[in-house]
Symmetry: C2
Amino acid sequence: MRILTRAERAQLAMVLEVSAYPKPGNVDRCHDYPDTQLEHFLASAIMARPAFESAEKGEGGVGKLIHQAVELTSGHTGGNTHFGAFILLIPLVMGDGIPGALRAARTTTVEDALEFYKAFGKTQVRVIPSHELDVHDPASLETIGKRGMTLYDLMLYSAPRDMVAREWVSGFQMTRRGADLLHAAGCGRQAIVTAFLSLLALEPDTFIVKKHGPEVAARTMEKAREVLEGIRDLQAFDQECIDKGINPGSIADIIIASIYIALGEGWKWDCSGTA
Amino acid sequence: MRILTRAERAQLAMVLEVSAYPKPGNVDRCHDYPDTQLEHFLASAIMARPAFESAEKGEGGVGKLIHQAVELTSGHTGGNTHFGAFILLIPLVMGDGIPGALRAARTTTVEDALEFYKAFGKTQVRVIPSHELDVHDPASLETIGKRGMTLYDLMLYSAPRDMVAREWVSGFQMTRRGADLLHAAGCGRQAIVTAFLSLLALEPDTFIVKKHGPEVAARTMEKAREVLEGIRDLQAFDQECIDKGINPGSIADIIIASIYIALGEGWKWDCSGTA
């Protein structure tokens, strides 16, 4: 059995996450959304590889590589599939784990921030205009430059409203928690579902907050906990989320990072053998 | 929209094929076999990339690159996932299409044959001992060397019993047919299912012949034709194949090659957009 490169591990994490099911509300092996389907996520995982390879070699800054990953994955039209995952995976691959990722995050520059904003502008990521530097407004780029904001500063600025950004400033706490949950839950796709539900029950998904407001996010958390307690049916919960378009996209991004970390620590994605 | 590299196109063909459903008897988005699951195929597609990249750059012979692809994909334990696909894709990527693949195939050497046999020995591919050079017998390698057999000669030798090998000597006829069927069937996963069924109705799958004998293969062909004619239910046919372990693995390999060719000719894998 050969050892995977970090880039391959990142890609594998992306395809394992999207394949696992049922993951309430998200695209998974058994569910699509009309505009974003399983195949878009699989294609995105394949197309992103050169950015991960550069990150593994330490070539290019974090902002530039996130931008590169977004550009590489523009080869499909399923909208934003892995933007949040790239924000987590690029520093994790670059730093070969959480401590190194934090060093990479904390030493980002204004240049990284500008590259990131260019990437952001090319995705269809949901923003709350009143709370964010508007990525579609060229003035935002000027503001970043004037204030001397680094990419780390941008994440700090977004952390209260975005749990992916929060990972950068919290020391990848939920990513770490997800990896521990995977180890505890055993091998394979069932462990991914368990870890996903556990994170969903732990904190409100900020993607849901942006799309549906804090009440819906809180209620989704509660329902995830009820599933874990065995008093709510997982399939029915999944269907309800899908019907209402409630997709915990940020938790999915974090679980991808968790799988990446866990794989590096020997977690078995394949229950049938030693992989 | 950026243009995909040939290596990416090969990988994309592999994940699109395995995701499409229902494909009678094979692993697909909705079905696994106990030892070989969707995730094994996805992991295999990710892990094979360096072999395709070398093929695209023209680095390394056909036999060596097939051997490399097999070794790269030994990072999972799902058994043989894509060996037949590699036999088709490596020359197709190397030659940038069917005419170039045929030139590559016809100019293979004894060295290619030896590399191929080493690769073969590392897979769990089904062989009929009485009809084949035994890949687990070191004497076979000696025989190849003594007889001066090239990899093309080996394919010629296997062609009557193996439809993948037959592609090399027939000018990739079924691969071409599959690509034409994809173009005719329109975009996306439904076209893959239609093309798959059409090839299955056209010729007996030699993988089924090796595993279950010619009668079962012939009957499977007939049933595929009945599905296309609308007089047999596809889902029921799929379930029947799965229950009996009848998996048309060689047709699946050829469809992957067909998708690779069709993608290069502008076939749209994504009905929602322009991908």
